[in-house]
């Protein structure tokens, strides 16, 4: 292993810490104000559930949360240009990957936000098992796709 000093330096390290702090603050704020866990996959998945299972229940605060998240790049652009984005997968990869993330996070009841930030900060063993499972699986996937198959997706 060698550190990629091209993308990781003092400035990006501080931005990562501060940005992480903002994510943590957002999670605490939603719990404090709304009594809800800021788990993105749970919030979207619950809405999908209501539609698919034809339950007559309002989406409520979930819509507002997602609108805030969707609007964040637009608000960011008032102050600064958006950070660079380098995509790692083509159309097929995005389609397969997206379906896997949707299916997997619903079965696991959480993703990087729900289990990663909210669960771990509440010292949940269940969330720790989830985080180790998806981190390990993601690292193996990157290794296989990038180093064994030479970046096919």
């Amino acid at each position: 292993m060698s550190i990629d000093w091209q993308t990781f330096n003092g400035a990006t390290a501080i931005a990562a810490l501060l940005g992480g702090g903002m994510i943590g603050a957002a999670a605490v704020w939603l719990a404090w104000a709304n009594g809800r866990i800021a788990g993105i996959s749970g919030i979207i998945g619950h809405m999908v559930d209501l539609v698919v299972q034809r339950k007559h229940e309002a989406f409520g605060w979930r819509v507002a949360f997602l609108v805030g998240l969707l609007a964040s790049p637009l608000v960011w652009r008032w102050f600064a240009p958006l950070p660079e984005v380098h995509e790692q997968s083509g159309l097929i990869g995005l389609l397969i990957g997206g379906v896997l993330v949707g299916l997997g996070t619903r079965y696991a009841n959480g993703c990087t936000s729900g289990h990663g930030i909210c669960g771990l900060s509440r010292f949940s063993l269940r969330s720790l098992v989830a985080v180790l499972s998806f981190m390990g699986s993601a690292m193996v996937t990157v290794y296989v796709l990038r180093h064994l198959l030479g970046g096919v997706v």
Binding site: A64, L69, A71, Y107
Partner: protein, 145 residues
């Protein structure tokens, strides 16, 4: 007023979370895959994002533990599920495969969609398909719920 406040506070939470993802670099799939690629040129950023997030969130959640009501006066019920089973591990492994393939988890996917990127749109649509698939499978398995 009573009905708009939860929308306002939730919208603010979503906005703050999205800004945090953008600032931290986690909306960029290359930074995420750079962290997951431990045998290549490694970018430790994601660990710092988690560190900053867990520092703030563990302090905040510890302070919330004594509270029974939210700021808006609703009951404060945080998850109590402790089950560790095949669903949890299997689902997480599937999620990790999709995350490793794309470098995008659900939060950044929505941020990329909001930024108007085609990749964000394709990813979120596929995400919704995966979640609908789950809902359909569960509905077939438990038809009376």
């Amino acid at each position: 007023m009573k009905s708009t406040m939860p929308w306002l506070t939730a919208g603010l939470a979503g906005l703050l979370l999205g800004m945090g993802l953008l600032l931290s670099g986690m909306a960029n799939p290359a930074k995420v895959v750079g962290f997951l690629d431990i045998t290549g040129f490694w970018d430790p950023s994601l660990a710092l994002v988690m560190g900053g997030g867990l520092l703030v969130a563990s302090l905040g959640f510890a302070l919330l533990r004594q509270r029974r009501r939210t700021l808006l006066g609703e009951p404060l019920n945080l998850p109590t599920n402790r089950t560790i089973n095949g669903r949890l591990v299997g689902g997480s492994v599937l999620f990790g495969m999709g995350w490793g393939m794309t470098g995008i988890c659900p939060g950044p996917g929505l941020v990329l969609l909001g930024a108007g990127l085609d990749a964000g749109l394709v990813y979120v649509l596929a995400l919704l398909v995966g979640m609908a698939l789950y809902s359909l499978i569960e509905r077939m398995r438990h038809p009376y719920h």
